[in-house]
Subunit: 119 residues, 2 copies
């Protein structure tokens, strides 16, 4: 189920080049990367797992409510990170000119189903 | 000029509660916070300056192009952080139900003018 979900999120997002379901410890449950893409998405996911952990800690300290979503836009890519459970998050990488809104929608769409499967 | 810009970004964004122009070292040039808001926005900005620095380093290591924008959504707030120069970034805090798209637009609108003023 996880593999199929990750792949469909990537393929349904215009400009989508990869998605990953990963623990905050940097270990992935499932990932899918569009063939031929030069970016080392596994490395990206590990870096962003660390960043996400820090933002989550900051959110707790600052009492701003639970962390739900982080998006990062760089010169060439967009990354959308979505908290799923206490232990896991979803990450989607798309080209900068891809459809950010669609990617965000897809990451939210199956969230409940994913949470139930992860318990 | 900075104070006025920061204030107008906050006030023109529906749900906007504060904005800050800050160095990555955590020292602010200008800030404006809507009166009566309970969130310690100075603390928020300092925490996010650290996060932003880390994301910027990750973007360099991973060769994804320069960091442009980070947005963070929590249970109660949205934070939009926008890189301005090598040393400074703009941060906008809005209520979760505020107009995220408008805030993002406003942070971009005066970017060139701001860069010229900061050189």
């Amino acid at each position: 189920m996880f593999d199929q979900l990750i792949r469909s999120i990537t393929e349904e997002t215009p400009g989508g080049i990869g998605a990953i379901l990963m623990g905050y410890d940097g270990i992935a449950i499932a990932d899918y990367f569009v063939p031929g893409e030069v970016l080392d998405q596994q490395m990206v996911a590990i870096e962003y797992a660390n960043v996400l952990k820090e933002i989550r800690n900051a959110a707790t300290v600052l009492n701003t409510g639970d962390l739900e979503e982080v998006s990062i836009r760089t010169g060439r890519y967009c990354f959308i990170l979505r908290a799923v459970t206490e232990e896991y998050f979803l990450g989607l990488t798309l080209l900068r000119e891809g459809n950010f809104g669609k990617g965000r929608y897809l990451l939210r769409r199956d969230l409940e189903r994913l949470r139930e499967a992860l318990v």
